[in-house]
Symmetry: C2
Subunit: 322 residues, 2 copies
Amino acid sequence: MAEEFEKPYVIGLDMGGTNSVFGVVDQRGTIKAQTVISSKAYPDVNDYVNAAVEALQPALDLIGGIEFVKGMGIGAPNANFYTGNIEDAPNLAWKGVIPIASLFEEALGVPARVTNDANAAALGEMTYGVARGMKNFIMITLGTGVGSGIVVDGNVVYGSDGFAGELGHAIVDRSVEARVCGCGRNGCLETYCSATGVARTARLMLESTDEPSMLRNLKPEDITSFEVFKAAEAGEKVAKDIFDFTGRILGQACANFALFNAPEAFVFFGGLTKAGHWLMDPIAKAYEENSLMTYRGKARLLVSSLNGSEAAVLGASALGWE
Amino acid sequence: MAEEFEKPYVIGLDMGGTNSVFGVVDQRGTIKAQTVISSKAYPDVNDYVNAAVEALQPALDLIGGIEFVKGMGIGAPNANFYTGNIEDAPNLAWKGVIPIASLFEEALGVPARVTNDANAAALGEMTYGVARGMKNFIMITLGTGVGSGIVVDGNVVYGSDGFAGELGHAIVDRSVEARVCGCGRNGCLETYCSATGVARTARLMLESTDEPSMLRNLKPEDITSFEVFKAAEAGEKVAKDIFDFTGRILGQACANFALFNAPEAFVFFGGLTKAGHWLMDPIAKAYEENSLMTYRGKARLLVSSLNGSEAAVLGASALGWE
């Protein structure tokens, strides 16, 4: 049997602060088996890796064993592709530098690679999703924060230190009213265009108008981007205004981002994309209005085609093919 | 004789709207011979290529003939690396799409490649200059406009269409006072940080204050960035303020650019860099203040080490080694 048929599976690990989801994935992006362990229950990372290997065993038995696995990909916070380490991740139980890739390589006997979740998402779209066949595109993840994965000539850009591609922290407002960001600076894209940024916009807009809105029935801290979406669907002007504001800032920012790699597409992913045309239309409008002539009309603005709950594992698994 | 010793030279062509400068360059970046023809005198591009080959002959004789030339690199406006064409260059005599690379390949019998001048400058720095050995950096050219060449993993980023890397057209001001740019939009980096942008700033600052200045002895349209430099050297506050303003905008913009490829360095080139510390100090200050923590203190801010008059030819020639 030729090598390419011998190892038709990869393992993907989506490591979050709470849970670690493992999937065994085939070349088409079908998750053949999935298992979950706690990310928090193992103060010693060696115990975590042992628990992971044990939990994976039934899934590996299902596909005929680890000898059918080409490699493992890990999407984790503060993960460095070059070193294979997780470095000082504030949301994980293990402090300092954790050589997570080599720990799994030793435990499983297959090559393992790590990257952060937005880069993993970009790899997932390129391997199994809407960016299949694309060589130059930009992935934008719209969740609690705004993440990005930049692809140039078919490769994710890791930069000089492995931490390139943090477009969510592009400063888009330098005025005195710029929003405070968790990174310690002001005016970052993610303070406006993340799911939490949309909720922030909603609270501010509701304060500044008398427009009636079902959002006023909620406590301000209970307003989410999904509640804003429901209000938009119900025909509320204020909800539409919130998405117009968000989409305009994101479209303007993407027009600047396009100057780097003249992308074939931007691929948006994450909870906020559920807002659909309420968000995508103002993004498209602002993108076209703000694009340099050379780039106008060239990049497609796409939404991820991967199933939301599977996308993170699929994205991580894509690294296993490399 | 081994292949690497057989072809120790490349030809570089710096094609401007007025003149075309050709250089025969060795592996250390020494220009062994140089020749110039007019870019404007040949309405038919075939005549231009023939004139070029004739003008190059003495230089080629000097190194032993075209058989010692590995390749030719051409830096030209609106040049597309992928196609080898010059496409609709407004400042050249030839309209439409000109297959300049293949015309020279046929005429000389060596491989020829084209790119724009800022990308050529990046290649020049990487091959012969301060970026030797660097895999990830950003070249910023500060001339009549602001150009850029972005290097990722040792390669210039050309993007999906060959026209990536136009950071001079990043919109850095979206306010109503944003400066009008030649590209048809407002607030582009180059309206502030090019040599002409500095002159524009000087005129505005002189109007808005009563500060005494030797610049007031000039007609407003005669103010250049070099005159501002002389005023700064003479200790004038207004000149220092002009460079502080320019450097702050450029440093802020570079902090955003760093999010893409986490560069080892920014390399600045062009007439404006003659302003030295008057410009570089405020760039460095704004860059550090505006950098995301992950990147702070990592990128070096360098000025090109290539001789200004030779840099364009050297940069173009670097493409000949590829």
